[in-house]
Amino acid sequence: MASKSETGPSPAQGVGPLYRPDGEKPTATVSKEVSYENVHVLPQTPQLIALLTMIRDKRTSRADFIFYSNRIIRLLVEEGLNHLPVVEQSITTPVGRSYLGVKFEGKICGVSIMRAGEAMEQGLRDCCRSVRIGKILIQRDEETCMPKLFYDKLPTDIADRWVLLLDPMFATGGSATLAVETLIERGVPEHRILFLNLIASPSGVAEFAEKFPKLRVVTSFIDQGLDEKKYIIPGLGDFGDRYYSM
């Protein structure tokens, strides 16, 4: 099923606020849709598309790339945090009125898949100031060509926390799968893992969603597919290179 959508073109449509008539919405390529309940794609607003356009453009300077990707990451984090539990809380406001609100419940931590995932830490900190952040290094094993866990440093009480797993590019999902398996091994229940991602491939995200049905994926865009080298197309190049060194 996944392979069918693999080569198909991405949908293009008028993008703009609902109240605006269709003729006044400029056309742009939007995210592919997937029908998995645990995959959440950010609303394809013109603003988000414009931000993605900036970071996909090879002419965008590194400073701008960092700035615009941080803005998308903040949107992802804000959406991701909405999946965390809250409890009712009633307060009296400064003007003496009562307000029935909510209180954030449960401890969280971030886990970044090195190195590109670390680029998402700034955006996470912008929304959660003192969040703990663990790291996982996964690289391709030269002999087996399979992803291999090289290093990890995670909070000791990670089993009691909600985990925001960070990786901007999701192609085949090899590293992400291994990272999730590592977390589960450390005692994190699958349903307490939120995977935050900028751009995903349709096949990768489908397999991942089926393999971990209780985990939640929050992504800003599901791209057209993968090329023969397993790079996301159209993609944005190597995220880590563009963020750290290019």
Partner: protein, 452 residues
């Protein structure tokens, strides 16, 4: 031949008239040296109010040709006859101001005898005092005047004052001054200035020394201003009644009540929240509002190439996005604004609500140049209750040429009645609201954010 498209009836337009749309103009005429400007200054001083402006007719002298320029230097040019004044431009300026629009006042150079390329902008005065020897000369102007004053003084006193002033302030020689007086000033007085006397409402003999007359004028203006203020407050109240019914229109976008959003709102409204946390959560919440506001701006399709050489059909923002902060509340939101647009062009307006009658008053205004060409102007205020300040701020933008549809008003919390009132008057603006608050909530967010 084509069929006639369906015709819609025009909706009843709901209007908001700011106080400056109901401008009072006071004309002060009189001979040169009679003490017109001293009387004008004394009136301003006694009124002791903002937005009272003295407009001197000298600014509207016509530019001289080189021949006339020569004459002027030889004291042979008549500056005292009506032909020397550009009455058409003056009438147009006053008409614009009367309509509440902004006007550009020419700057006239006395040394070069010509209009300078620069102009001074005049906007939103409540009272203009038009002062000049021929202030009551043109019937088109007389028609617009609320009070017509003629200042009178003995001609000997006038000449004496003129000699002293021109020698001291304009560095001219006595012979030239006397020549001009007898060639032009005096004949012009009889021909043009004196005939204005009978059409004036008040004649002030002995100028500045005449306290009783000046006091009368001041009282009259004060009464007028009070009426104006009452009308404005009353109009705002009526707008509220009109807008009380019905649902919020689709151009009011209230942010969805996600758990995080409610959670942040809970922290922000909890008096026990530490100042440091308050600022952090406030900035975070406003960042979301700003990102939402940017959805309302214009975009165009654009093909870009990725580093691997693939093309992506995306969007690029179109035109400049600028912001206008309603002080003080709106300035809480600047940190978050700069997170999304670090170099955002930002203007400021200070609107304060008069506590005695709830009337919003415009105190200060500094808008970016060419604001009318910006694709989107984000207007920010942290809180909106009755909507008086927002109505006034939107009106200020429109008076400066900004299209209604380009304005996005962003506020953290607003009362429903205020929102309806604002959108009833300006149906094309977009409004982004964080949370709907109860009616009549006093302003407290800015105090909390700034800690004072």
């Amino acid at each position: 031949m084509e069929s006639i498209p369906p015709l819609y009836s025009l909706s009843t337009e709901v209007r908001y008239a700011p106080p400056w749309q109901d401008l009072s103009i006071i004309g002060i005429a009189g001979s040169s040296g009679s003490g017109k400007s001293s009387v004008a200054m004394e009136i301003v001083k006694s009124l002791d109010l903002p937005w009272v402006v003295i407009l001197v007719m000298d600014s509207f002298y016509k530019t001289l040709t080189s021949e006339q320029h020569h004459k002027a230097h030889a004291n042979e040019y008549d500056f005292d006859c009506p032909e020397s004044i550009d009455f058409d431009v003056l009438v147009e300026t006053l008409r614009d101001l009367k309509k509440g629009k902004k006007a550009n006042i020419p700057i006239y150079s006395f040394s070069e005898h010509q209009r300078q390329p620069d102009t001074t902008t005049l906007y939103s005065p409540h009272v203009i005092i038009l002062e000049g020897i021929l202030a009551l000369h043109d019937p088109r102007i007389v028609e617009m005047l609320d009070v017509k004053i003629f200042v009178e003084a003995d001609m000997d006193v006038c000449l004496g004052r003129r000699v002293l002033r021109d020698v001291r302030e304009r560095g001219r020689d006595i012979e030239g001054i006397i020549k001009q007086w007898f060639d032009f000033v005096k004949p012009s007085y009889t021909r043009f200035v004196e005939p204005q006397r009978p059409i004036s409402d008040i004649i002030i003999p002995r100028g500045i020394e005449n306290k009783t007359a000046i006091d009368m004028v001041v009282k009259h203006i004060q009464r007028k201003l009070q009426e104006k203020s009452d009308n404005h407050t009353e109009a705002l109240r009526n707008l509220g009644l009109i807008a009380a019914e019905g649902k919020l229109p689709p151009n009011v976008h209230v942010l969805p009540s996600t758990p995080q959003f409610i959670g942040m709102n809970t922290i922000l409204q909890n008096p026990e929240t530490e100042q440091e946390d308050y600022i952090f959560y406030f900035d975070r919440l406003v960042s979301i509002l700003i990102e939402k506001a940017l959805d309302m701006t214009s975009y165009v399709s654009a093909n870009v190439e990725t580093p691997q050489g693939n093309t992506y059909l995306g969007l690029h923002p179109k035109g400049t996005v600028s912001a206008v902060v309603i002080l003080r509340g709106g300035s809480c939101m600047e940190t978050a604004l700069k997170r999304s647009i670090p170099d955002c062009i930002t203007g400021r307006v200070l609107i304060q609500t008069n506590e005695s009658n709830d009337e919003p008053e415009l105190h200060y205004l500094k808008l970016p140049s060419q604001i009318e060409e910006h694709a989107t102007v984000i207007l920010m205020d942290s809180q909106m209750s009755s909507g008086g300040a927002a109505l006034m701020a939107v009106r200020v933008l429109i008076d400066h040429g900004v299209e209604q549809g380009s304005i996005v008003f962003v506020t953290c919390t607003a009362g429903e009645r205020g929102l309806k009132r604002l959108t009833a008057v300006y149906p094309k603006i977009n409004v982004i609201v964080g949370r709907i608050e109860e009616e009549g909530e006093p302003r407290w967010i800015e105090k909390r954010y700034f800690g004072c």
